[in-house]
Symmetry: C2
Subunit: 235 residues, 2 copies
DNA sequence: TACTGCATTCTTGCATACAAGCGGCTTGAC
DNA sequence: GTCAAGCCGCTTGTATGCAAGAATGCAGTA
């Protein structure tokens, strides 16, 4: 995790997730290797890893292309995410330990502070922790890993959802209901609450569309290279 | 998909899944590159890809090590698999089309023939098709991909389950109940039937243990290199 | 005799050189 | 003027060389 290829992978992933590149943009091995001050070898290894997690598509003899999922696919991913998290809850209801419940309560205190002060990024961090704890509480390490992976991948599309002021309070209330169900050991209720918490429905529909447009919009200059990428690369 | 690194990846994956290497065995870049008659570069790219799918662990400056999941992790994976497939069924019940149902019926005919003749590998192929069709019927392409991925990864641990003569007929009957529920559009029933079909319970427990021992057993020679690997490499 | 430190050797990580496609451009012919 | 074919250049894919780090073995000391 200290190799150059890992560092490059981290940075490239960050750039892609932040929307530094346009949809379908070809990543130039030479330019990028110069930018990161590494040779093509570790860069190509980073490409492989990013392609494996779905952020790039490698076309033989043509190059690496940035791939933002289509809006439809994002909905599909949220649909699966909702189910995975609901399953975490179902398992957690029977397996959650007292220390973990205490940790969950702590995130609730954190979230409450964030809601009261309207501090979105504070809430965002506490929310991350809340969900990570639920994955952990499932007691299924493999499930925890899969959930974490998908959660990461959906990150750019979750960004704006919390900016909606009403959403913060709603989200907080939902967290409360989930924890209550877990504390009672009610697997069914916990799963249902979590599914509702994640699923794209009602107002979240529009929030997602906006998030999506911001994350995956194509901003190209005259030469077909995205101006955002040019900025990101200092061109 | 025609590059040497892809070919090497395919072959290595096959070898690992077939159990050609011992648990924890270090894969020698130079020996393997000689064996596959490629340079270290495409081999290393294959390592990266296999590490991404969890078959290898890459330790910095130490090398690539074969990683068979612990028995506990296999159970966890089956637990998640059951849930993913159950979710596929839940979605499929509302979305399945007439042509797909017809295809599913075709696999049932195939399975029936295999059961009657006791042809396990025939049943195995028909079973693969059955499950692939269910994933497809979910109408969620992302879910389909994830389910397929996990299904592949569990392949070596499913091998022996069908060798149990009683299991074939049971499995067939379960398929029937699943299709019936789908045809009726009963999402709840379809999900429950599928979950029961996949979940490790009852007699399947012992079958899995045997499969696991066969897949992940460590067979080492005096020099610490697995004799199975030596055979596979023609040493 | 056991443990620690150093040196040697082997292996990986990275850089670079070379080969092989693919695409675009130019030129020629109809 | 347009279309097609061939060539040139650019990009990716692969091989190999070199450097740095880890493991192992040996020697010296406690």
């Amino acid at each position: 995790m200290v190799s150059r290829s890992d560092l490059v992978r981290e940075k490239l992933e960050q750039m892609i997730v932040e929307g530094s590149f346009a949809q379908g943009e070809r990543l130039d091995e030479i330019k990028l290797s110069q930018h990161f001050d590494v040779s093509r070898t570790p860069l190509r290894e980073a490409f492989q890893a990013l392609a494996a997690s779905g952020l790039l598509v490698l076309e033989p003899r043509r190059g690496a292309f940035v791939r933002y999922p289509a809006l439809e696919e994002v909905f599909e991913m949220f649909e699966v995410m909702a189910e995975l998290e609901a399953f975490c809850c179902r398992l957690a209801a029977g397996r959650v330990t007292q220390p973990l419940l205490a940790d969950l309560d702590k995130t609730m205190v954190d979230c409450k502070q964030a809601v009261d002060s309207g501090d979105v990024s504070h809430y965002y961090r506490a929310n991350e922790r809340f969900h990570a704890l639920i994955y952990q509480a499932s007691g299924n390490r493999f499930l925890e890993g899969e959930a974490t992976r998908l959660h990461r991948r959906l990150k750019p599309f979750r960004r704006l959802q919390l900016n909606n002021r009403g959403r913060l309070a709603h989200s907080f209330a939902e967290h409360g209901r989930i924890i209550d169900a877990l504390a009672k050991g009610d697997a069914q209720a916990a799963a249902i609450e979590m599914r509702a918490h994640i699923a794209i429905q009602g107002g979240k529909f529009n929030d997602l569309i906006v998030s999506y447009r911001q994350a995956a919009r194509k901003v190209t200059g005259e030469d077909g290279v995205s101006t955002r990428a040019q900025t990101a690369l200092g061109l």
